[in-house]
């Protein structure tokens, strides 16, 4: 009950932030622009639009996730509003889950606005497919995963530092899939050990990227989409659990 109350309150406050709407509008302008640009590429217009559209939604959703995830908890700590809340019968993990819920609802809202706008544009062009929805859904779960990482970092760093670290994880997360090949080639045992450690510790964010197959109208099995969603939720849960453990012994002086 407290989780929901805290989550909805923070979500309401986040949705009053004009920057999020500016970002969503900017994303839709990018997609609309891609449709104009696509007319210059004979026969490739549909592919280009789908690819640019999903990439735009991914970029803006991830930006929202990093921005919201790194500030939703950090701001409460830095502005000390957390002290008033935790002086009430609210457990620390309830607060944390509430803020995660707020971040998730915000990402859902922003991804939905951009996703629906995108689907309307492609439907007008007559190139809408069900696979595009899957693409947007996976973007949402990737953003959720990144928000959980940002929240984890913000439990012991400032919002700014948390957002930088989350961005670094985002970049490395999209390179993780190459690590096994690099580790195989490495002769040094220490490099192999750390390579393997990073491979298992870092999220594999390429799982969430199905832009290529979607743009080329290739089939992405539903079971794979489902597995990626479960992976994203599991990883997010571990990050929130780790955040709760950090929070448990944290002083709010």
């Amino acid at each position: 009950m407290n989780i929901w109350t805290i989550g909805v309150n923070s979500f309401k406050r986040l949705m009053r932030s004009k920057i999020l709407y500016v970002m969503a509008v900017f994303c839709l302008i990018t997609i609309a622009y891609a449709s104009l640009y696509g007319t210059l590429t004979a026969g490739q217009e549909g592919k280009l639009m789908k690819d640019v559209g999903l990439a735009g939604i991914a970029a803006f959703s991830i930006l929202v996730a990093i921005l919201v995830g790194s500030t939703v908890v950090a701001k409460e700590i830095e502005s000390k509003t957390i002290q008033i809340l935790l002086a009430k019968p609210v457990k620390k993990h309830e607060f944390l889950l509430g803020e995660f819920l707020a971040a998730a609802l915000t990402i859902l809202m922003m991804t939905a606005i951009m996703g629906v706008g995108f689907l309307i544009i492609v439907a007008i062009k007559g190139i809408a497919t069900a696979a595009l929805v899957n693409g947007v859904v996976l973007v949402f779960f990737e953003a959720i995963l990144l928000a959980s990482i940002a929240i984890f970092f913000s439990t012991f760093f400032s919002g700014m530092v948390a957002s930088v670290f989350t961005f670094i994880i985002f970049v490395f997360g999209h390179l993780t899939y190459q690590l096994p090949f690099l580790v195989q080639r490495a002769g040094n045992v220490v490099v192999k050990f750390f390579g393997n450690l990073l491979y298992f510790a870092l999220p594999n964010l390429q799982y969430f990227n199905i832009r290529g197959p979607v743009a080329h109208n290739l089939n992405v099995p539903g079971s794979m989409i489902f597995a990626v969603i479960v992976y994203g939720l599991l990883y997010s849960s571990i990050m929130i659990l780790a955040s709760a453990l950090v929070f448990k012994s944290k002083d709010f002086a």
């Binding site: 406050r13 000390k80 008033i84 009430k88 019968p89 609210v90």
Partner: protein, 314 residues
């Protein structure tokens, strides 16, 4: 322990980092219920640290604390607590009404009761006109008032007010004092930290003085400020009588037609009154003397002058 609103046993807090500041040193405190307890001390004395320990916002390095008979670590006990922090840091993008409603939901107050409670609190703190205004536009005094309102949303038995009147103009201070008086009339216990000694003297029943993390003194304000001295005023005394009396009293001064005698011991008062009568004078009044809280406080912390901003509060 139930007749005590707050009890601590050797409560100690050492902040990690740097030189490991000992913010609170073996605090043994007992605050009775249904009282306004003034917790005084210069900056960095450990007052805010004490409140944060009692609200379980920080963990003690050693020692134990109870509020309303329960360990402070029990989440349930906070159902009966209210808290106004030192510098009100609230959700500034919420309106006054939304802000109170949110905290009402945190206490699971049913919707209809919540609406009534919010209305009642906005009336109490005089913010009914500003109910739709977002907190960012509130003045310092208005923020203090809405802060007190949120601290009362759950009808708490014990309220912690950390510097609720510091930094306010005389009007703002008076408004807050009035609100606190109304709350006190409802039989609530108020734990009140302040630098403004005049207001503490006006409102508090009990006080505790903290200095450099140690509790120097605690007790009923009247008893602590009471002295054995008596002030006797008389008229119709001249020359020889005054010379004779001067030798028996601590101090003698003239105010218009009256003579004021400060008598050090109550036992001497009868003798002085007898001498006044003997020399044909007329006794006007006998009043037991009280020390001012400021003098008492300065004596307690061992300083001649009170400079609250010498050190910053942790």
């Amino acid at each position: 322990m139930t007749s005590l609103a707050i009890k601590t046993e050797n409560l100690t807090k050492v902040y990690r980092g740097g030189r490991g500041t000992k913010a609170l040193d073996n605090l043994n405190l007992e605050v009775p219920v249904n009282q306004i307890y003034g917790f005084l001390g210069p900056n960095a004395a450990g007052k805010t640290t004490t409140i944060k320990l009692l609200l379980n916002l920080i963990a003690p390095t050693s020692g134990r604390a109870w509020v309303l008979g329960k360990e402070v670590s029990e989440t349930d006990v906070r159902k009966d607590l209210g808290f106004l922090p030192e510098n009100p840091y609230f959700y500034e993008d919420l309106s006054a009404e939304e802000f109170l409603d949110f905290f009402g939901k945190i206490f699971h107050i049913p919707r209809r009761d919540r609406v009534n409670k919010v209305e009642q609190l906005l009336t109490l703190v005089g913010l009914t006109e500003e109910r739709k205004q977002i907190l960012r536009r509130f003045s310092r005094g208005m923020l203090q008032r809405i802060g007190i309102a949120q601290a009362l949303i759950n009808d708490p038995k014990l309220i912690f007010l950390d510097e609720p009147i510091t930094g306010l103009d005389p009007m703002g201070r008076k408004e807050i004092r009035n609100i606190i008086s109304k709350v006190r009339a409802e039989g609530k216990t108020i734990f009140f930290c302040s630098h403004v000694l005049h207001d503490v003297e006006l409102m508090c029943d009990h006080i505790g003085i903290l200095c450099e993390g140690r509790l120097i003194t605690t007790g009923k304000l009247d008893e602590l400020l009471a002295t054995k001295e008596v002030e006797i005023s008389a008229e119709g005394l001249r020359g020889e009588a005054l010379a004779k009396l001067e030798g028996r009293v601590k101090k003698l001064r003239k105010e218009e037609n009256r003579i004021i005698f400060d008598v050090e011991e109550e036992a001497l008062a009868d003798e002085v009154v007898g001498l006044i009568k003997h020399y044909g004078g007329k006794r006007l009044s006998i009043v037991p003397k009280k020390e001012s809280l400021e003098d008492f406080f300065l004596k307690a912390i061992g300083r001649e002058e009170y400079k609250p901003d010498e050190r910053r509060e942790k």
